[in-house]
């Protein structure tokens, strides 16, 4: 017995055998705190170096696009929030704009401004969750608590204006679900005025933090050419220095009337992605303030009784309003046949709705171009040849929402 132990000892160099050279396959996720949901990544490692990486998705696939085909346009709308649950209003906006385009409908300017205000608050909300969790991934616990403190204020505003904290479904085809509550604009203003100081706080914690910089600077850079070829959009593409923001280049919902800058990075590394998103938060705050200042008076809903439900008061004494109301909520409204693609700049990049209508009250086909889907499949290229620890930083910097990837 004693002899056997001696033989197995690594000190006995004759018996060490050949050095093991095979690579290791490591399964990361689907339940892993840094995969931000249910993402599974199969990594091939040599020591700590990543040789290959394969994202495995589908754990949250719920068939939302298929489900929309059997629902009227109004009933399909609440499903859009469930895809990117961190940016529900951006999803609502993409969908309603696509349907409005097919209908050839124009919404009043006040409605467009209100949509801009709320969509930018959504961007703040989403970027705050990203910043908090990204910091958490990289060991900066405090930022998470600060970010969620501000996010809570935004969610409270969402709750008061739409009735729900996260799954707002507030934008409707032809307008919004209901008038904003009386103190809505004052609440927004109070939050937005304090917000730049908050961003300063986050930056104090992270931007010059040597640990954070070591984990992010020069980590997982991607040249602009490759980012374009891989179909990356949004803050990831802008971090590579490509000046493309749909709000500027293909303005929708009156974005052309707002004065804001598009922050750009240079190297396209994790730190640049951080810088771009933090700068975007400041720009979003500016847009929100402009929307508050310039909020036009006038009607909120489009004047189209076949699509926009009549005000509740009318139903009691107006027969026609009652008929319209009944038709909208039972049969739905007919959307002219045709195909349309509407892209909006969601917090994660180009979010697009490709809708085919056959003229019936239900969409024939809805395809959602989810920004996270394209961005996630760039991950193998980003992390190959890097260290295992960088994978966590890279996933965080992509800012995926698996609900949107899997749909």
């Amino acid at each position: 017995m004693a002899q056997e132990v001696q033989k197995a000892s690594p000190l006995n160099s004759d018996l060490l055998g050949p050095i093991r050279t095979e690579t290791m396959t490591l399964n990361m996720g689907p339940q892993h705190p840094s995969t931000h949901g249910v993402l599974r990544i199969v990594l091939e490692l040599e020591g700590e170096t990543v040789l290959s990486c394969k994202p495995v998705i589908g754990y949250l696939h719920t068939g939302i696009e298929k489900n929309m085909e059997v629902k009227t346009y109004n009933k399909a709308l609440p499903m859009t929030d469930r895809m990117d649950y961190l940016a529900p209003l951006s999803n609502n906006l993409g969908f309603v704009l696509a349907v409005e385009k097919l209908l050839g409908m124009e919404v009043p300017r006040r409605c467009r401004y209100l949509r801009v205000l709320l969509t930018e608050l959504t961007r703040l909300n989403s970027h705050l969750v990203w910043l908090g969790t990204h910091g958490l991934d990289l060991g900066a616990m405090t930022v998470f608590l600060y970010c969620f403190r501000e996010r809570e204020q935004i969610l409270k505003i969402f709750e008061k204006v739409s009735g729900v904290r996260m799954m707002t479904s507030y934008f409707r085809v032809g307008g919004v679900a209901r008038k904003p509550y009386p103190e809505f604009f004052a609440d927004c203003r109070r939050f937005l005025e304090s917000f730049p100081d908050r961003v300063d706080e986050y930056e104090e914690l992270l931007t010059d933090n040597p640990i954070f910089r070591r984990r992010t600077e020069e980590v997982c850079p991607l040249p602009a050419e490759r980012a374009i070829a891989l179909g990356m959009t949004g803050p990831l593409l802008r971090a590579c220095g490509v000046d493309y923001d749909i709000r500027k280049k293909e303005p929708y919902s009156s974005y052309e009337e707002f004065d804001f800058e598009v922050p750009l990075g240079k190297r396209g590394d994790v730190f640049d992605r951080y810088r771009v998103r933090v700068a975007e938060m400041r720009q979003s705050q500016r847009i929100c303030m402009q929307a508050l200042e310039g909020m036009p008076e006038g009607p909120l809903m489009a004047d189209d009784p076949k699509v926009v439900p009549p005000p509740k008061e009318q139903l009691a004494h107006d027969m026609e309003a009652l008929i319209h109301h009944f038709k909208i909520f039972t049969e739905g409204y007919h959307v002219p046949a045709g195909e349309v693609y509407q892209a909006v700049e969601s917090p994660r990049g180009e979010l697009g709705y490709y809708i085919i209508s056959d003229g019936s009250p239900k969409p024939y086909k809805v395809k959602v171009r989810a920004p996270s889907f394209s961005n996630l499949f760039a991950l193998p290229e980003i992390v190959t040849g890097r260290l295992m620890g960088d994978v966590v930083a890279a996933i965080g910097s992509i800012d995926i929402v698996l609900g949107e990837v899997d749909r």
Partner: protein, 183 residues
Amino acid sequence: MTDTVPAQESPPEEADADVRALRERFGGAVRAARSHCGQIAVELLPSALVGAARLLRDERGFRLLSFVAGVDCLELPAPHRFKATYSLLDLGRAKRLRLEVPCEDDLDPRLPSVSGVWPGAAAHECEAYDLVGIFFEGHPNLERVLTPEGMEGHPHRRDFDVSAEAVEFTFRPTPEGKPEAKG
């Protein structure tokens, strides 16, 4: 697909330089072009797809492929059942172009893969294969991405059965003294 909705579509957009360039190079393979809601869609034959993709990327500036979508046109008045839609974006001009490519065989829909032109297309083609069942030839690794392992059929086909799944009952022998279960 152009005959789907004749009333709403405006006449083919011949004035567009990109459509003209495609027509010059590929002639009859460019079946139709139309403009609807200010968006240009070009219908191409599958044989011209990869060539057209290269032309559009290298000479016309469409360097970013936004998405690939498989569409089942079963209930639309289209000559072929399946088609794939490719949405392209030229970042410089902020211009979008849609390519629509019908699959010639309704029973075995196949298209050439454009993942060699836009690497980002690979994941989208996997999704179209998974959900609609279009086989992309020349794809580096065509596999199901969203549906679970062992899935049969392609759920985004219009004739895919979405009614409730049969519940699997496992019967235990009836305990003594209780009546037999009916059926």
